[in-house]
């Protein structure tokens, strides 16, 4: 575990830069992390992030398909918003754990 100063606040993150505690997340934190990923956040991004945080709260397993059926974006749209590993990047920016694909 490490502490990182993001947007002026000390945040607990793991080795891969995912927040350990989703409640430490703020919009400012999201904007900073997104910058590291090379993404500038729009309202559409935030809609996806809120959806991910809600689903995570319900402790449901997140998949790209589920986001695609959310009514916010389709799968292609999700790739456009978070290019290259959309679920991993969006989860990191949303301050929730890295999605674990089941085996």
């Amino acid at each position: 575990m490490a502490t990182q100063n993001i947007a002026g606040v000390n945040i607990d993150v793991n080795d891969e830069g995912y927040l350990n505690d989703p409640s430490q997340w703020t919009k400012e934190v999201a904007i900073e992390i997104a910058k590291e990923e090379g993404i500038e956040l729009t309202d559409k991004h935030f809609e996806v992030l809120e959806f991910l945080r809600d689903e995570n709260e319900k402790s449901s397993t997140l998949t790209i398909r589920k986001v695609g059926k959310s009514g916010i974006v389709d799968i292609k749209g999700l790739y456009d918003l978070f290019p290259g590993g959309p679920l991993k990047k969006s989860s990191r920016i949303a301050g929730i754990p890295k999605p674990s694909s089941c085996v």
Partner: protein, 409 residues
């Protein structure tokens, strides 16, 4: 008369029917199994059919051979499950009431979910090996194939038996070697996962084997569609992979009755308590195996271990006691690696596959995360064990909980 209703007469439903019938008084409990199909397939055997190692007769038996006397069996489609009314409606409108329900309706492949998959080239140059039809069609294709680009692609997670696609490419490597045309066959493994497998140590071992066998791996490829004219698969982020023959693991989803009944998640898998195996929605409904959404492999081994836990908890529920048996997500997979060798992995929710010996600590005879001849014999013998011991709900010398004994950290 009290009633237990079991939906699905596959591996899970059959094991439960056997266990429950020997435990419960016939005068007190009526046990009914509903399934739409009469044939029981030994699904681990499908993998061997494309390479001519098994044929159809090696993997089929009538389901009715495996149900014990005193269990009522109805062959019918299921129209609706109504948990609030404790009843299930069959296709012909007949209503079955229950005191306890076990749902073991499994997972199926849905190639229609991917645009272009089930079109012109389906069963001509595009095949699956998760159905008997697909496995046999691929067998016939390989008989006259002279070589080219063989691509294996996994369309979506989760899917049944996560090691099967790896075994497929390992066996393909060995098969084309023995035909003397391996140098004319380019094998590519295309997966949405970041590597060969999800668990780090197993991925390391399996990646080594893939490299040794000259099999290309393309990770993080999430299939959008198949182009039948240009013969290529295309991912959502625009990657393209050309094929001459495509072996696909189609999107896996739970049975459609789960969707009709409004009981499933976005892939029609039923939200289930991963420790007690009870439905999260209804107290008198249990879910076994692939039909559930528990975060472990969709595989027969998991069903077998889960059945022990479900049985204990169902007996507790019948007697009004708390559910104390806890499933740990135990999975145990043989991995055929070709040339008469195999590997074994053993893991659960919390522990990734580790090296060691299995099932006897320090002795084996199987070597975990190793590539040995003995492991292959285990896979060969397992078919007999499946038909004669496992389906009949008899004891095997491996308990439901994963053991750390014999494993190296």
């Amino acid at each position: 008369m009290k009633k237990i209703l079991i939906l699905g007469g596959g591996t899970g439903g059959t094991i439960m029917a056997n266990k429950l019938r020997s435990a419960l008084e016939r005068e007190e409990w009526e046990i009914t199994v509903v399934d739409q199909f009469k044939t029981h397939y030994y699904q681990p055997g499908f993998l061997f059919i494309p390479f001519g190692i098994y044929n159809k007769n090696d993997v089929i038996k009538p389901k009715s051979d495996f149900f014990p006397p005193g269990v009522k069996v109805i062959f019918s489609k299921i129209e609706m499950i109504e948990g609030k009314k404790n009843q299930v409606t069959l296709e012909n409108g007949k209503i079955l009431k229950y005191d306890f329900l076990i749902i073991a309706t499994g997972t199926q492949t849905f190639p229609e979910e991917t645009p272009g998959l089930k079109e012109d080239l389906w069963y001509k140059e595009i095949f699956d090996f998760y159905t008997i039809e697909g496995a046999i069609a691929l067998r016939n294709f390989f008989k006259t194939w002279k070589g080219g680009r063989l691509v294996l692609n996994i369309a979506e997670l989760p899917f049944k038996c996560p090691v099967a696609p790896l075994e497929f490419v390992f066996l393909a490597d060995a098969h084309f070697h023995s035909l003397g045309i391996r140098d004319k066959v380019e094998i590519t493994y295309v997966t949405p996962l970041p590597g060969a497998f999800t668990k780090p140590r197993a991925t390391k071992m399996l990646s080594g084997l893939l490299e040794e066998k000259n099999i290309n791996v393309i990770p993080e490829f999430y299939l959008e569609r198949v182009d039948n004219k240009e013969k290529k698969i295309i991912s959502y982020d625009g990657q393209e992979v050309q094929f001459d023959v495509l072996t696909i693991v189609p999107v896996n989803m739970g049975n459609e009755v789960i969707e009709r009944s409004g009981m499933g998640d976005d892939l029609n898998f039923i939200p289930t308590d991963k420790h007690t195996l009870r439905s999260e929605e209804f107290e008198n409904v249990f879910v076994l195996g692939d039909a559930s959404n528990i975060p472990t492999s969709k595989a027969g081994a998991v069903v077998h271990f889960g059945a022990d836990v479900l049985f204990e908890n169902l007996m507790s529920a019948i007697e009004g006691r708390p559910l104390i048996a806890k499933f740990d997500g135990h999975a145990n997979c043989y991995i055929e690696t070709g040339f008469g060798k195999g590997s074994i992995i053993d893991f659960n929710y919390d522990t990734e596959p580790l090296a060691g010996t299995f099932p006897l600590p320090g002795i084996g005879p199987f070597g975990l995360l190793q590539n040995t001849k003995f492991n292959h014999y285990g896979k060969v013998i397992f078919r007999w064990i499946y038909w004669h011991i496992l389906l009949r709900g008899k004891e095997l010398p491996i308990g439901p909980d994963m053991s750390m004994a014999g494993k190296k950290l």
